[in-house]
């Protein structure tokens, strides 16, 4: 029932065969996820098939509660599937959760360094890389603060720095810029795009901002309301770098927004 279209990865252009396990590919086949049992059970995802090419940037759009976060945690291997399969994921993946979930017993720098520490990076390099990443997310000077001393948007940025510190080939992001002002968000769009290109990451990016999705994605996947199914996949063929307030972005965004509206009102009605 779902429409699968593979987006060509930027830069590399190589297309990987179905059977081969490629670095950074994510292939979902008929994924079903139900929470709970019996009459109170909620079907969050119902038959989601999706193919994400290595090195591509995929944005996920969908109504609140349609199963986007669920999908990411299935890809990350944090939950068990009810049915279907998820292939070709090189784990652990890097992931940024919807809530920052920083560790209160560590400083801001400590939180970022932890991701490096687990991977056995030495102390000096850890410190340096954490400082760089905090620079990237515009938090220079906050390295020694505790999470509770930060504002909501600042915490989200620390979580972003931590996810980037993971250096995994697959990066999952759940509304990473939801709590940021337009300007900071623009800056981080540029930074994220730069890092994605440099590291040839495969990115799965959940957002509610349709323009943001079009600004960043190679493909934009629209999920239906609960239970989540793939409604449509839009290839974004525009050249990079794109500007979020450019006309082509606005136009495609408008088109997708209309589709989203139709879906949500179909449900609400």
């Amino acid at each position: 029932m779902s429409l699968i279209r593979a987006a060509k990865p930027q830069g590399t252009g190589a297309r990987v065969g179905d059977a081969a396990r490629a670095s950074g590919a994510v292939v979902l086949t008929d994924v079903v996820k139900r929470y709970g049992r019996g009459p109170g059970a909620v079907t969050a995802l119902d038959g989601v098939s999706l193919r994400v090419e290595p090195g591509s940037f995929t944005c996920l759009l969908g109504a609140s509660g349609c199963g986007k976060s669920t999908l990411l945690s299935l890809v990350a291997g944090l939950d068990d599937l009810t049915a279907g399969s998820i292939d070709d994921v090189e784990r652990p993946v890097a992931m940024m959760f919807q809530e920052p979930a920083l560790f209160p017993w560590l400083t801001v720098a400590g939180n970022v360094e932890l991701a490096l520490r687990v991977r056995g990076v030495g102390r000096a390099e850890r410190r340096q890389r954490a400082a760089e990443l905090l620079d990237t997310v515009r938090l220079e000077g906050f390295a020694h603060k505790r999470p509770h001393e930060l504002s909501g948007g600042m915490r989200q940025r620390v979580a972003l720095a931590r996810a980037l510190a993971q250096d995994a080939s697959v990066l999952l992001m759940d509304e990473p810029f939801g709590a940021l002002d337009a300007m900071t968000r623009d800056i981080l769009h540029d930074e994220l795009e730069r890092i994605w290109r440099e590291r040839e990451l495969t990115v799965l990016f959940v957002t509610h901002n349709v323009r943001e999705a079009v600004r960043l994605g190679d493909q934009v996947v629209l999920l239906s309301s609960r239970p989540g199914r793939v409604l449509n996949v839009y290839d974004v063929a525009m050249d990079r770098p794109r500007r979020i307030d450019s006309a082509p972005v606005a136009n495609l965004a408008a088109e997708i927004t209309d589709a989203l509206r139709a879906e949500v009102s179909r449900h609400a009605g």
């Binding site: 008929d30 079903v32 068990d80 599937l81 292939d87 784990r91």
Partner: protein
């Protein structure tokens, strides 16, 4: 569309997930009865195994002749003593009396401990004045309270209650204080914004949030109460048919190893039953808070 998550078994890269607490995952079992059965089985076999292991080791030790049989009686001897004794009214009456005292004393302690805990957590001067004393009181052996207890209550049931309450209150208060101290400030802010003050804030926000720590304080409090009771029951043998504390000590006085073990087993069994209540409470809290639930 397969109904099993074949993936989980197939993909070796998933193995690392075992780092997550295994408890978080429930096995995919087919039917409701199958699930219930599996759950029961999962909760039972380790206990049975542990029991078999302990009794087996004990029997072996006995057979090895390491210690004389009056020092370390055979499991069977103890079993016989236990089953014969359990057929007498004395045994059950002692359990009844002691449980009654324990429950009364504990109930009293819960009330006092909770109020004390809240008061200490809430009023800074009170905390400064007696906060530190709470640990101090806990470290005081029950017998040191005997003179004071006799002074205040002569020799009566109240004397025992006094010792039990003094034993349990600090733990319960401690649990509640530590719980209150760790209530996330965000929740208190929500409470304040909802217009709660004083009692209301405590009733609707602070105390529910404190529940996990409170339950663990109760558990410790129960242990202290019980221990104090065992000591206290030696002090007062009131128009008192035998109590566990007195009979247990009696068995020791007579160096009756089998009977001592009978009582040890009884006390452990009571402890396990009581623990089941605390576990049930804990389990309910955790499942409703969305923390994974174990069997």
């Amino acid at each position: 569309m397969p109904v099993e998550t074949v993936e989980v078994e197939r993909d070796p890269s998933r193995k690392w997930v075992s780092g997550l607490d295994e408890l978080e995952k429930t096995p995919v079992t087919e039917t409701r009865w199958g699930r219930l059965g599996a759950k029961l089985w999962a909760g039972t076999w380790p206990k049975v195994l542990a029991l078999v292991f302990v009794v087996g080791a004990w029997q072996l030790l006995f057979l090895s002749g390491w210690k004389a049989s009056w020092v370390l009686p055979a499991p069977l001897t103890v079993w016989q003593d236990l089953s014969e004794y359990a057929a007498t009214a004395d045994y059950w009456q002692a359990i009844l009396i002691t449980l009654q005292r324990a429950l009364t004393g504990f109930a009293l302690s819960v009330v006092i401990g909770t109020l004390l805990g809240i008061a200490v957590a809430r009023f800074k001067p009170l905390r400064a004045a007696i906060g530190s004393l709470i640990t101090g009181l806990q470290t005081m052996p029950s017998i040191m309270w005997f003179p004071l207890a006799i002074l205040l209550f002569q020799i009566s049931e109240s004397t025992i209650m006094f010792v039990v309450v003094l034993g349990a209150v600090p733990s319960i208060a401690s649990g509640i204080i530590s719980g209150i101290d760790y209530v996330p400030p965000a929740w208190k802010r929500v409470g304040a914004v909802l217009g709660m003050k004083g009692l209301n804030l405590y009733r609707h926000v602070v105390l529910p949030a404190t529940l996990p720590s409170f339950v663990s304080g109760l558990k410790q409090g129960w242990a202290f109460a019980w221990r104090s009771l065992m000591a206290g029951e030696l002090l007062v043998i009131v128009a008192g048919q035998g109590s566990i504390g007195a009979l247990m000590q009696g068995a020791r006085e007579f160096n009756d190893a089998a009977r001592v073990l009978t009582w040890i087993i009884t006390v452990l069994a009571i402890g396990i039953v009581v623990d089941a209540f605390f576990r049930a409470a804990d389990s309910r809290i955790r499942s409703s808070w969305g923390l994974h639930q174990d069997s």
